[in-house]
Symmetry: C2
Subunit: 140 residues, 2 copies
Amino acid sequence: MDMPVEERLGLAVKRAEQRLMAAKHAAVKTAGLTVPQYAALLALAANPGISAAALARECLVTPQAMTVVLKNLLEHGLIERAPHQWHRTMLETHLTDAGREALHTADAAAVVIERRIADAFSPDERDSLRDLLDRFTQAI
Amino acid sequence: MDMPVEERLGLAVKRAEQRLMAAKHAAVKTAGLTVPQYAALLALAANPGISAAALARECLVTPQAMTVVLKNLLEHGLIERAPHQWHRTMLETHLTDAGREALHTADAAAVVIERRIADAFSPDERDSLRDLLDRFTQAI
DNA sequence: ATCACGCTATCAAAGCTTTTATATCTATAA
DNA sequence: TTATAGATATAAAAGCTTTGATAGCGTGAT
């Protein structure tokens, strides 16, 4: 208990991330998506036919977590899954038209937030913040 | 889709927070706690007898979320809850000896991480990072 | 050809979180 | 005194996440 308010630095990072997630959550909600669903659709649009496991790595979550996200996207008709030709053990995932539309709507709202953040800093400050955060991550 | 890699700045923050949480998770796990449980015990130690709703505000979560956390802590015998004298509608929560011990163990491990992070920066850099993160949070 | 290793998918258990909705009690105002 | 507002607790539904465990399919080394 010899550190003042739990952490100072860690606290600031957590607060920033919390706000960011809250804002993004509200943004993508306009398209009926959650943040993890939005992230999955975004990666899916860039990698058509990717497997669930690969998608999980792309989104930095466990395969099990991605399975649940995909299950919900599937139930909402935003993606399609079909077994791969040769690798029968693999399921190819693709966006549906509805999925593409939802992604487009969500992305428009998400970009607004990113732009607002970016505009709050000068180019030098952006570089500085990115550098400090990278070192923060490395230090752990 | 006119922004490069989703966000750059938001991504760096998220990555830093993700690493921080992963490290903290592993740290407090040595005491058999989760991060939310650790946060609750920490706030509880500083505010003996606090109500669940007040504790939720302290920890920046919803009362319902805190209820679940307290339920689990109660089942593990780390806290006690008893109705307040006048306000029968309120439950006073207190740490048990086991709870105090678990908190002490978890805190020791958590402080190690904070120290490692703090040591990665000069005092000026710490101030700079904190300032940039605060502006990041404000911008949203 | 066979066996082991790695990748894929999935199930189950345990936890955290949010939104929505109820019910009760306290305190203050009409 | 009654009514309203504020605070507390709890329940249910829906989602995300992790760890642990099971099982099938390919590739490469033996």
